[in-house]
Subunit: 86 residues, 2 copies
Amino acid sequence: MEILKVAAKSRSTSVAGAIAGVIRESGHAEVQAIGAGAVNQAVKAVAIARGYLEEDGIEIVCVPSFVEVMIGSQERTAIKLVVTKA
Amino acid sequence: MEILKVAAKSRSTSVAGAIAGVIRESGHAEVQAIGAGAVNQAVKAVAIARGYLEEDGIEIVCVPSFVEVMIGSQERTAIKLVVTKA
């Protein structure tokens, strides 16, 4: 499974398009963000993707959790949003 | 329905406790946040609430959307997270 990594500078509409594409293909997308700015863009992207997919009659829900990731040699706590069809 | 309003300075564990309480009572909670810091705390709170509720065998999912809210005389865009039992 590909993980969609979101940064604070990511455009939420672009991420939304990616989420919608992965959901249409596999019914399941995983979005990862580190830091408030990135988490905000990720959540906005899910909200926008919801609109895109509603047009196709697809409802989505998301489940957030914490994951530890290595950035170089440093461990950081990321937020993972698992997005699935409702 | 009471709306749980989250600020950037809100403690995510306190918000998580409130979400878990409302879910146990009614199966449905609504969380509202304006700005990246607040959205981040809200999402972390849902992730923590998920842990609390798992202990009771309750699974939750959330659906983010945009809502326009009035703060004084100014219209602001908030993120609404509707949290429900899976």
